[in-house]
Subunit: 334 residues, 2 copies
DNA sequence: GGCATTATCTGCAACGATGTACGGAAACGG
DNA sequence: CCGTTTCCGTACATCGTTGCAGATAATGCC
């Protein structure tokens, strides 16, 4: 049986409550008493029972992180940093994979997962704003991504549109005129894909280049769909001289397919991505992309969530944070 | 205030304990009673309080996963699958990043993290067998990887040596004779790196090719170290016609450096890796590697751990599981 | 010196579930 | 028909903390 507060209290010759007070930094305790308690704790090797503490206090000191798939490199890198940042403030992160399925997202939002955490970092993909608003409980929720942009919610995101414009402008400046986009539907204008597509269109407009819907190919944001999308364009005989993958995985998949087909990158077709995952630097050719300030996103989202949990942030409306970005020009689109 | 069992009991006109019994599938309950309780639960929207349940039962239905760094692609993919498999058996996975630091590993093994979980999936890197044996508590621990191979522990691993031999033999069969290895010290023979290096040496022996320590370059198992290791070899003027990265990240980093330096892959230097992460298929050239049966590893390690937790597995000695492997021949080393 | 105030510590109840023990009714056996 | 067994359900204690409301002693103030 583990050592309890009662054992410590007995050993230190004080009441159980005094031990609790010492542990919770209660103000009025004589240094000598505090010392005796600490000695007893050290001697017995006492460790607080977190479950009991949670039951009594209603706090778990865990944050929930809901994302579609932890094996996606962007999410893996993000999760890793979020955990590191959270642990600096004494919180753990519990991850739940939604698979981008509305049902699973809903379960994460209001099911048992919710109970285990003091607050949620939620990347909605399938669910819409009203549904989330109706189902979020009383605990804080900070949204990640851009699927839902709504004043009712705290949101940490990136400059999708501006960054996409920058990438596209960079391709245009290099003389590319038929820039294919993979990862969106031609008409899309909301959500992460939509925003990035808007950014692309804006750059085209600025440069006076006409938008061609035939150059826009949808696909899930994975390497294989990037490859499939490019294969589709090539097979359809649609000419293009650049590919903008709406995330790096898509771009890298696309680039792979181009090279397999004997298309030279960047000579024949330039390729650019979005996210600046570690893999991008080491691809061959290395991938031009945009770094969306992941450190800042991790820092700010955890900070905001914990501030909400601890009552340090009390804005009535949702707080919106937009991290900066940096264009990373590499070999795939010099 | 949330709905409690007491509320349900009142609504159903039974005692609190009967509600508990219904929820825990106690045998002797009249169908009619069971139905009334279920109706009340549905009507009130009752959800069991997991914290209270944990406190009373001593179980959390969470598994701990300790690994060095979740952003490493192999671990990210593994973690993702482990979570999926665990959830099928009603468990969640809580991840802790050790950073491959002994202190952090120790904390994960016996600190608060331990309390939160019913059992641990532990990838030791810095800690040694005796230290782990002394500090593991009473809850089940299943080791992953090969840093510690010891009959005292349950262990789920892969055929490192055989697989490394297969990769090396494949390179040799293609006529390569000076195969550099990145990710190990020349004399290493224990741990994952050591085993894979042994496999490499065995293949050399079988083929009657002499082992040259100058071809073995150490480095952490990341892309950047793979690149740095190859840069070192090239700068030192050590000739080689193949590189075996002891994991895919190393191999991909190495390949990148080769290509940057104008070395043709696979014409001048063939490259092979280990792990078969998704990225390997989409690299250019695509990476020859070995797939270590990650699905099997995920299935078996979660299965074993949960069986231990639930008392379904009771072998006194550690159970050792070795997943099979498949060589994936791709463009980087045809 | 008397009374309010401050400092220090304590006991009890409560968080919401489960384990143990037991009571009564129904079914069964001889 | 009575004792035993099998069902079905309940009451109470308990897991290890923290919140609340004191109790007691020491100090400050006039």
């Amino acid at each position: 049986m583990a050592v309890t507060m009662n054992d410590v209290a007995r050993a230190a010759g004080v009441s159980l409550k005094t031990v609790s007070n010492v542990l919770n930094d209660y103000e009025f305790i004589r240094p000598a008493t505090k010392q005796r308690v600490h000695d007893a704790i050290a001697e017995l090797g006492y460790e607080a029972n977190l479950t009991a503490r949670s039951l009594r206090s209603g706090k778990t000191r865990m944050l929930g992180l809901v994302l579609s798939d932890l094996s996606a490199p962007y999410y893996a890198e993000l999760a890793s940093r979020l955990m590191t940042v959270a642990s600096r403030r004494g919180y753990r992160v519990l991850v739940e994979q939604s698979g981008a399925v509305a049902d699973t997202e809903l379960t994460a939002l209001q099911g048992p997962f919710r109970q285990l955490t003091d607050g949620l970092l939620f990347t909605p993909i399938a669910m819409e704003a009203d549904a989330v608003a109706a189902r979020r409980g009383t605990k804080p929720v900070v949204l990640l991504g851009e699927h839902i942009v709504d004043p009712r919610f705290d949101l940490v995101t990136m400059k999708n549109e501006e960054a996409a414009t920058a990438v596209t402008a960079h391709l245009l400046a290099a003389g590319r005129r038929r820039i294919a986009v993979v990862g969106a539907y031609p008409g899309e204008s909301a959500g992460t894909a939509g925003l990035r597509l808007n950014g692309y269109r804006k750059a085209l407009d600025d440069a006076g280049v006409a938008f061609d819907p035939a150059l826009v190919a949808p696909g899930e944001w994975r390497r294989d769909s990037g490859a499939a999308a490019v294969a589709g364009l090539l097979d359809a005989g649609i000419p293009f001289d650049a590919v903008f993958g709406l995330n790096d995985a898509l771009a890298l998949g696309a680039m792979h397919e181009l090279l397999v087909r004997g298309v030279k990158v960047p000579q024949d077709v330039a390729v650019a991505g979005f996210d600046d995952i570690d893999e991008a630097r080491f691809a061959s050719p290395s991938l031009t992309t945009v770094s969306p300030g992941m450190d800042e996103i991790a820092e700010r989202s955890i900070g905001l969530l914990i501030d909400r949990i601890e009552g340090l942030e009390s804005a009535d409306d949702g707080v919106h944070v937009e991290a900066g970005f940096v264009l990373k020009v590499r070999e795939s689109a010099p």
